[in-house]
Amino acid sequence: MEIVFMTFILMLSIFLGFELITKVPSTLHTPLMSGANAISGITVVGAISLAGTGQQDLANWLGSAAVALATVNVVGGYLVTDRMLAMFKKKGGAK
């Protein structure tokens, strides 16, 4: 049942993703991409549960490395997106 449940979620969120992203104007496509990059760092959540088992085995090391890599994505992705979006200004808007 778990499998069906997860596939159901997958289907719904893919459709939702399509609906949301088609509304993003082309002027924001680069920040969208780096922002999406940051979101794909969600793998960190999975990595955390594998890195903290307390067993000094292979899975634990792999998990720890994955935490580091995904954190690069999360931190770097959000910061650089924020940096870019801060530059977008409207005409005559406050500088």
């Binding site: 993003v24 082309s26 890599l69």
Partner: protein, 456 residues
Amino acid sequence: MAATSEFGLLIQFAYIVSAGLFIYGLKLLGSPDSARRGNRLSAGAMLLAIVVALLDQGIVEYQWILLGFVVGAIIGGAAARMVQMTSMPELVALFNGFGGLASLLVGWAALSTALGTFTLVTIVLSILIGGLTFTGSLVAYGKLSEKIGSGAMMFKGQQVVNSLIVLAILVCSVMFTQQPDNAQWLYLVIGLSLLFGVMVVIPIGGADMPVVISLLNSYSGLAACAAGFAINNNILIVAGSLVGASGIILTQIMCKAMNRSLSNVLFSGFGSVSSDTTEVEGEIKPISVEDAYYVLEAASNVVIVPGYGMAVAQAQHVVKELCELMENNGAEVNFGIHPVAGRMPGHMNVLLAEADVPYDQLLEMDDINPRMENVDVAIVIGANDVVNPAARDVESSPIYGMPVINVDHARVVFVLKRSMASGFAGIENPLFYKENTRMLFGDAKESIGGLVREFT
């Protein structure tokens, strides 16, 4: 991860809140006004998901997690702070690669707790997609930063070799799910997926990089999604598929803007096949900075069409200066942005935003083209193929059918160009020979700087 206790249930609900915030954050990205808030909301969602994951009862030891956080945050933070806006495509490619590798490792690590064939299949998927995203992104990074040749690398029998690799991946994957204890199948799957990533990206030429990097973006999401299935975690599935959808849409937009199908981009090296037979008539008419100034001074409606050449010449700041001077002179100035101008989707917009050009002055191709008839002067800076009228008129042209910005419909066209060499795709451009075209030769930054000096 099963929600048996009340605390476990609470954790699952917190993930739902986080997913909702991700979705709402993406929705806010729909407008430049709210985009920054959206990104911060999405970051908040990520923070919530991470905190919740840390509270999970299965975790007994925190030092390795913390070490991972610190290392990752330092690298990511430094990269985000130091990167130049011109090299955003490289950074995004690199980040894609890290995301892919993280999913590969999570899939691999999940093996120790794997039960059942379905989980094994999702583990294979997460390793495969993650691995090919990793090496594919590294090659894309190398091409974008020109650390390796940016051209299409083709060799005889490439299709055969690739087909063999796919076949080998299939065989090894099936064997792995049958004998998960036999580590050699696992290593083979990992090695083959890494090799496949390289093989998929090397035949793709530099001009097609916007497509590839969008596609890899999508893969990095799908890899996270597969990892979510492997470890039974819904938030990974939701966030991963949002990213996957985003990458696929951008890929489609890029392909459409080049009038090519995805399979055409992926399987046929551009440039290597283009035998150009465009007949060009007329002659090149150069113009001096001084004469160009007199024309611009009298113009009341100006459109600037930038390409990657503007970024290479670092000319965006002088362009903004010129733009202000012309506006003070009473002219209306707009920018016409082609979807594939630059090295990634929306690249030009970011570069111009960095130079303080307001985003409502940046018009998309479909908005600018109908206005072209009323434009006095169109200034093309470092763009070539995206303004090539051959795409509209010459059926034999390799880029025939690609939508272009019709600068030749303006009364006068200035083309800023270093020399007469053809564009990235090596295609002759009849625009340069048109009656109303004037060529302003030289470095774009210096030419524009010269115009600015004339104005002041």
